[in-house]
């Protein structure tokens, strides 16, 4: 791609929310040379603006030479960071490519996405990871950080060469979609990766409890005659892997937490000081299994299923859960048991959803709707705007920097694995590849100029035909959401801007 530096930008008059600096006030944000240059508070009294942490102050430096972005009435925040994105490249380009997936990310306000390794081939060797890094450099619209596979071919049999993967830029390891069933192998994975300080991103599903499962096991599965995936099939594996985390001193991150039981297990593990974190998806925070009825979340009140029932766009793994579970996940996100939002953006081709429910692929294309979905929690009074930014930008960025529950992830001291197994060098890290900046998810002076500007109140109607993603698979088609990304700036360049006609 050509040089994307747009020249200096002045984002004027927006409500700047940057939890990393405790900022929530109207200010101007100046960007230059791909970095945050300064933030200038607007007080209406020229020359007197000042506040701790607001960078160089003094006379309003003016905007000569800057392109001015009018952010009045909007929120200006660090660009969103997604720890869980399926970009599908290499091998599954018919579903998504790095180009389309990152363009979709930009529309969703994301400036950093972490690419899941369930590609074809899987990201289980350094050369495939390097391929993704190169393709991202050539075609990506925003920052792409690869996630390596835990096991070779994601087969759950043999550990991948994790140190090699880390050296190539992997920021963590996951067999997402195919949970590591063998407890001993998971133990080894947690122990081995602990030397790297990188997390095992854990899809928790006890497959012996979910044979043939299509949706959440509950009243909706009873009504529709679809085999159920009980909430407890997540909890049993979360419990197992927390125990193994304690055993090994590894770093465990629970992907797409969907159940009350799992949230409680993570909460208690954190209280015990373990290296355990968790994420939740926009859909598990906002949609229930009743969406499978095909009535946009309503249930057939004693009446008939509509012809639209069995909406395959609601099929996702883990499945959309009960109200009780959704409430618990929201509560976990609010109280800190769940660290941040991750999308699990999972684009599929149309043919993979235009079929029976049992035949349909799992996944929702949601990176373009994620912010508005989470924003609905703000409108419902469940989160503050500042908490939203913290859970979509600040916290995932801290996680990438190696912070676990407010402290550096512990390395080595708890490792009980045979030291002979450890790699000779543990100096590898994505940062050493220049992929992961030293600071991310912040508008601190000198940080990468990754910024999202959004209108928290603007209503818009989801039209998948206008997605940048190839994946049109969303149950939200036709649904009006409140809250819209109006511009996304990555490395100082405007990579997405809502045009006047885009309503």
């Amino acid at each position: 791609m050509a040089d994307r530096r747009d020249g200096p930008l002045a984002i004027k008059g927006g409500r700047v929310i940057d939890p990393s600096q405790g900022i929530d006030r109207v200010a101007d944000v100046f960007l230059r040379d791909g970095k945050v240059e300064r933030i200038v508070e607007r007080t209406g009294r020229e020359g007197t603006a000042n506040a701790a942490g607001l960078g160089p102050m003094g006379r309003d430096p003016g905007t000569d030479g800057y392109r001015v972005v009018d952010a009045r009435g909007k929120v200006v925040a660090p660009g969103f960071v997604d720890l869980h994105t399926h970009l599908r490249e290499p091998g599954l380009e018919y579903k998504e490519t790095i180009a389309t997936g990152t363009a979709a990310a930009a529309r969703g306000g994301y400036t950093t996405v972490c690419a899941m390794p369930n590609t074809d081939p899987a990201l289980d060797t350094a050369s495939v990871v390097e391929h993704v890094v190169r393709r991202a450099r050539e075609t990506g619209v925003v920052r792409v950080l690869p996630i390596g596979a835990v096991t070779v071919g994601r087969q759950g049999k043999q550990l991948s060469e994790m140190a090699d993967l880390a050296a190539a830029g992997a920021i963590g390891f996951s067999d997402d979609g195919d949970p590591v069933a063998d407890a001993n192998l998971m133990r080894q994975a947690l122990a081995y990766s602990s030397t790297l300080g990188l997390p095992i991103i854990d899809h928790c599903q006890d497959r012996s409890l979910t044979a043939g499962a299509q949706i959440h096991e509950g009243l909706v599965s009873a009504r529709l005659g679809l085999a159920g995936w009980p909430s407890q099939a997540e909890a049993t594996m979360v419990a197992r892997d927390i125990a193994l985390c304690e055993l090994t001193g590894g770093r465990l991150h629970i992907a797409h937490v969907s159940t009350r039981a799992a949230v409680e297990l993570v909460r208690s593990a954190k209280e015990r000081g373990l290296n355990v974190t968790a994420e939740a998806t926009p859909h598990h925070l906002t949609l229930t299994d009743e969406w499978v009825y095909g009535m946009k979340g309503s249930a057939p009140d004693g009446g008939a299923l509509p012809v639209a029932a069995y909406d395959t766009n609601t099929k996702v793994n883990p499945p959309l859960r009960s109200r009780v579970d959704v409430e618990a996940v929201v509560d976990g996100l609010r109280t800190g048991a769940v660290d941040f939002v991750a999308t699990d953006h999972a684009p599929h081709a149309e043919t993979e959803k235009v079929c029976t429910y049992a035949e349909a692929a799992n996944g929702i294309s949601n990176i373009e709707t994620a912010f508005a979905s989470v924003m609905s929690l703000v409108h419902a009074g469940r989160l503050t705007l500042s908490q939203l930014v913290e859970r979509m930008s600040t916290q995932p960025a801290r996680f990438l920097s190696g912070s676990v529950n407010g402290r550096p992830a512990r390395k080595l001291d708890h490792v009980r694995a045979n030291p002979g197994m450890l790699p000779s060098s543990v100096s590898t890290s994505p940062a050493s590849q220049g992929l992961l900046p030293a600071t991310l998810g912040t508008l601190k002076v000198g940080a990468p100029a990754d910024v999202v500007i959004f209108d928290p109140d603007a209503p818009w109607t989801v039209d998948p035909a206008r997605f940048a993603s190839k994946g049109r698979n969303t149950p939200l088609a036709g649904v009006t959401l409140k809250g819209r990304v109006t511009a996304t700036i990555y490395g100082g360049a405007v990579v997405w801007e809502l045009a006047g006609g885009d309503v």
């Binding site: 509950g218 009873a222 005659g225 012809v307 235009v354 079929c355 429910y357 049992a358």
Partner: protein, 335 residues
Amino acid sequence: MPRAAERRTNQGGLWAGPRRHILDLDDFTKAEIEEVMLNADGMKEVLGRGVRKTPALRGKTVVTVFFEASTRTRVSFEQAGKILGADVINVTASASSVTKGESLLNTVRTLQAMQIDALVMRHPHSGAPYFVARHLDTSVVNAGDGTHAHPTQALLDIYTIERLRGKLAGKRVAIIGDILYSRVARSDMIGMLKMGAEVVVCGPPTLLPPGFTPGETVPEGQPFEGVRVARRVEEAVDGADVVMVLRIQRERQDAGHLPSLREYSREYGINAARLGLARPDALLMHPGPMNEGVEISSDVAHGDQSVIEEQVANGVAVRMAVLYMLCARARNGGS
């Protein structure tokens, strides 16, 4: 191009205009079920004639497409269509291109291109007829979808009971067996509750759907609200007007739902002693095919109270009625 699904509703009923599909009984009114039964009476009269043929659906084409093995239901629909004078084309999954990897949608679109009037389908996946109905203009009749619904079976069950014993309202129906995986049980529960019956179910706890708690009634606001779940089969059958026995599949044993079919038979099988707990004139029913000696003993299956063969005979009349109602009437929203 407007999607077919957007132009279409499935509102049925005597006064709501013609029905387009029969996907389950959940969108039937009680009056509409009664209308089906009145039509079935007329069809039974046709079936009793020396020459069993009417031209009611002459020039109409009915396609049955079964993606899952079935003899009884397919033959029943085929016979129903032929007696009404329709051209009936039977497509079985093994004989069609489905096995060559062609999608379900393409298969039924190809069939529709043959200008058919009704598509009778059975599919192993719950909800498959809803998917097909969303994408086709043809009337879709659900002849059994996965573990979801089997509406014409429920209609013939209701018909058989009402014509032998009068109105279902106030009568107690006991449904015994694998409720979790039974599409017959689901449609029967929905239809019989609509008709005012008291429905009691009983089965091993491993084969009860979520929300069905032994010893409790399904609470208001939940699917199948009002169904009582008995702890023991004797309690379920006690005083029943109808005992509906469900087929138990060997695969439930293989999947670990049951220790053995032998133990199932001992704990839940309907035999003379258990049937004796029901009202003396209680009807014994089974949707077939039966595993005699497992869920039902041979003596009662072929005994005085058994109406299992009448269910089969009534099945043809009821399917004639629904095909007639779907195909013969003018449509006000079709294309």
